[in-house]
């Protein structure tokens, strides 16, 4: 009975999903801003213009200027690059290591290997993530690369667990049994049958982790452990604006909004994708 609903074309479903549309639009805006910044920004962001410092929004500077006279719109555009790059690579690290580990553990469910992988995950989870990120950057020096590694490490168990639980459910299915009857080994089955079927889960979680990555990068940059100047970063823009919030609120407002809207966009997109991929979880709209 429900087939009529689920089998509507994917495109039509996407167009009907409000979360996905709004989220996608927000994400697109920031992704586009980041891409455009490679070829054009309103003002260069690697120079200073002290004479024009802390100007409120105007026609010349739609979002105003910061304490060095830099154009905040340009800073946010280039900062989007940093946020997105850090989050993409951090999620990539998580998937690259976490997914195979999860597949492997599921294929060897109940064995020592499974136990070791899952306990390892628990152990990483037991470390307060922010603290470890601070430690890593404190040890190896603050930089975008170290922030990526710190955030990425904590994505590994997230994806490993998700992949394992999704894979375990699939291993119970008859089509896996059919593949085994066809003589396929567990590695082959994992990549041919399990992985494509957990891909939806991974995409949804990837979107969520992506947004968490942006938040984490902002947090690390805020305490000075993320991307280093002169690379603009939203978190550092906030940190730098903090003392001026009482007389130049635009300096704190816009980077904060940029983070908020990007994370919101990604979360909405994740919810929307989840609705479409997994109708069972669809919650009334």
């Amino acid at each position: 009975m429900s087939t009529a609903v689920t089998e509507r074309s994917l495109g039509a479903q996407m167009l009907r999903n409000r979360n996905l549309l709004i989220g996608g639009a927000l994400t697109f805006v920031f992704a586009a801003a980041a891409l455009i910044s490679f070829v054009w920004v309103p003002y260069a962001v690697d120079g200073v213009d002290i004479a024009n410092k802390i100007k409120p929004p105007s026609a010349a500077h739609p979002l105003g200027t910061d304490h060095f006279g830099r154009d905040i719109l340009s800073m946010i555009m280039v900062g989007a690059r940093t946020s997105i790059a850090v989050a993409i690579v951090a999620v990539g690290i998580g998937m690259l290591f976490g997914v195979p580990l999860g597949l492997w553990a599921a294929a060897r469910k109940g064995t020592l290997l499974d136990e070791v992988i899952m306990r390892g995950n628990d152990l990483v989870f037991a470390f307060p993530s922010l603290l470890i990120a601070i430690m890593i950057t404190a040890i190896f020096g603050p930089s975008a690369v170290n922030a990526i590694i710190a955030i990425g490490i904590f994505n590994i168990p997230v994806f490993a667990r998700l992949t394992r639980s999704g894979a375990l459910a699939l291993w119970q299915r008859d089509f896996i049994l059919a593949a085994r009857v066809a003589g396929k080994g567990s590695a082959r089955i994992s990549f041919e049958h399990i992985l494509p079927n957990v891909a939806n889960l991974l995409i949804v979680q990837g979107t969520i982790q992506f947004s968490l990555g942006i938040l984490a990068e902002a947090g690390l940059s805020y305490v000075g452990l993320g991307a280093q100047p002169p690379i603009p970063s939203w978190g550092r823009m906030l940190a730098e604006s903090q003392t001026m919030i009482s007389f130049a609120p635009h300096m704190a407002l816009f980077p904060g909004l940029a983070i908020l809207l990007t994370v919101l966009g990604l979360n909405l997109m994740g919810d929307g994708l989840r609705d479409i991929f997994d109708p069972k979880l669809r919650r009334g709209r």
Partner: protein, 315 residues
Amino acid sequence: MLRYTLSRLLSLGVSLAVASVVIFLAIEVLPGDPAAYMLGLNAQPDTLAALRDELGLNGTLWERYADWVGGMLRGDFGTSYTYRSSVSEMIGERLWVSLPLALYALTLSTVIAFPAGIWAAARRGKAADVTVMGVTQLGVAIPNFWFAMLMVLVFAINLRWFSAGGFPGWDKGVWLSLKALTLPAVALALPQASILARVMRSALLDTLSEDFIRTARAKGLTKGQALRRHALRNALIPVLTIIGMQFSFLMAGGIIIENVFFLPGLGRMIFQAISARDLIVVESVVMLLVFAVVLVNFMVELAYALVDPRLRARA
């Protein structure tokens, strides 16, 4: 139940042991000499050597690890390099800020999230649900330090309802202290409450779609009765998991917030200790936080067993 508890305790111990090695090695490769930091620009080499010796920085790696772990097992976390006072005492003192802050935030987030989540689940698809989902969606996306900044601006500087930060001390009055912890707790609790409310809602919707809810409705229970009597407790397991995770996040997540509100808690201490190369303090606090996290997870697992008779039996 006992066997279950024991096996969980064993894995708890192993986790802690592995964690201690990881933490120790990680901290030991931190560049920077605590003695040099303490003595500053004009320190002379012989003075430095004397101080290094006094601080016990000259032992082998293994000796220092054994000292540290052995001390911790006796409840002695060593002596801070920079403060020159017992780390255990310092932690004890700071804990009186961080722990109440975490509990306060946890209470706030639970008190906000439970009704909001239940309300949204019960009014699924209605205006209430849409509102709760919208607000929590924002709450999840807002960086808590930015939210803290905005709150300081509005409530401390502009309206002057709260002090901008600092902590009077519990001996100066419980009410004053709670007041000082209010803005930080709200800043910490907002994203947590949003997550919790969403988890609560979706866990409730999951259980509400279970067959036994239909059974209950067929018995003549109203929607509300079915939700209260049958859905809530069943929805508690995913919610408990999140609460457990949140507690550890709050303990550690306080680092930034404690700095924004200059609260003398563990988070601020660890930040200062990292910049001062006070290795022994960093090691001990990280270890303590890991221990707290592992312990809370352990308690959460025991709580599952209390909620779910199947787990009780399996154990």
